[in-house]
Amino acid sequence: MTRRVRMATLVATVAALAGCGEIGAPTRSDIYEWRIISTPDTLAFHWPREALPVRIWVQDIYDLPMHTQNAIDGWKSGFLYREWDAVLVSDSLDADVLVLSKFPNGPTILLGTVQECEGYTDLALDTDTKVLTLPIRIYAVPRYDPDLEATKACFGIVMYHEIGHAIGIFRHSPDPADIMYFNPTTATPTQRDFQTAEVLYHARTTVTATHADD
């Protein structure tokens, strides 16, 4: 065997052995329940790829567009494989999600409260047919003077929380440290929030979304 052939064999062997190495994925076991358990059914939803980016219309008050954009960017950063995306749109008739600053008219499913403001996410979800009628309505209202710095910061937290519901987290985290706790104190999602969002986008869904005028 010539020196040249020996060298080529050595290189090929090293490359073949090194090729056996595999990256190790994390287990992502630190999550909380995101589905609505409506006996006997489990109501689970995430936006399908073909529906992305989700179109969000925001009432231009209390810097809600800025807070909503921050929440979109923040949640997007939690996904490794672009599972979710959203954009702000100028036409409310074209939106999948509406963000309004007023109290909701009827009963709501999800409420997030911080001391200086409140947020509600209204899901028109038929538990019998498992159809979610769009648009999802998010309400954000001040409890204190909206010009206070604390109230402005509160809107930032609340929009992160409510957009979390619009992503598909239809429950609240039991951990006060999480943004999806019913009374959140953190300004951004925790690793547990992100992992829950990641996992739900790969879990089976039972709810389909349709626009009211479809």
């Binding site: 040249r4 060298m7 080529a8 290189v11 090293v14 490359a15 090194a18 090729g19 056996c20 190495g21 595999e22 990256i23 190790g24 994925a25 994390p26 992502r28 790829r49 997007k76 950063s77 996904f79 490794l80 494989y81 672009r82 599972e83 990641e198 996992v199 986008y201 790969h202 879990a203 089976r204």
Partner: protein
């Protein structure tokens, strides 16, 4: 990372005389194995699609029949996440991914117009968007590579050059490490390219 870059730079600058330079350019395709294997209910893989490839290189003679050179390769293709679980097959487009690599190499004759080439180098990943697994930017990784070149005279001063390449590196990103991914994925790439090389028959 500074030391290997310095070695590559010195290799490129080591050409003692312009007349001894041998240089070439080629076009072709590169295929890559999986970059990331993940499991979230279903197993899925992220990989770069078959990518158009541009190669340029130069070399200088060392001894009677061997040469030392440097070869740059640019590929640009789609990045896709493919779910492989039974009954859940789907593919998601994750944008474009470009790679730029430089291979410091040695080459020599195999037989007739066929020459071998092996070396080490660096590969830089350049994603179209700093998001997802590339949220903290594209990584710079070491690689080993080699292949075969076939050359035959095509024009008065140029040879037709057909090359097959294989290279191997280990892939991970800062974002993946921060999220608890351990070790790195062994990535194998293969390419087939065709181009022109300046013939050594007219070299002074």
């Amino acid at each position: 990372m500074k030391r290997p870059l310095l070695v590559l730079a010195l290799a490129a600058l080591a050409a003692p005389a312009h007349a001894q330079l041998d240089y070439y350019g080629r076009l072709g395709l590169t295929g890559s194995s999986t970059l990331v294997r993940d499991v979230l209910f279903q197993p899925f893989e992220t990989k770069q699609g078959l990518s158009p490839t541009l190669v340029a290189g130069l070399s200088i003679p060392v001894g009677t029949d061997n040469r030392l050179g440097i070869e740059a390769q640019l590929t640009s293709g789609s990045l896709e996440a493919e779910t492989t679980g039974e009954g859940a097959e789907s593919t998601a487009d994750l944008g474009r991914l470009t790679t730029l690599s430089a291979l410091a190499n040695a080459e020599g004759a195999v037989t007739g117009p066929i020459r071998w080439r092996i070396g080490i180098g660096l590969i830089q990943y350049l994603p179209s968007e700093e998001a997802g697994l590339f949220a903290q930017g594209g990584p710079l990784r070491y690689f080993v590579g080699g292949g075969l070149d076939f050359r035959r005279p095509a024009f008065s001063s140029w040879d037709l050059m057909i090359s097959a390449r294989y290279d191997f590196h280990r892939f991970t990103t800062d974002e993946l490490r921060d999220r608890g991914f351990t070790q790195a994925q062994g990535v194998q790439r293969g390419s087939l390219t065709v181009g022109l090389a300046r013939s050594r028959r007219i070299a002074p």
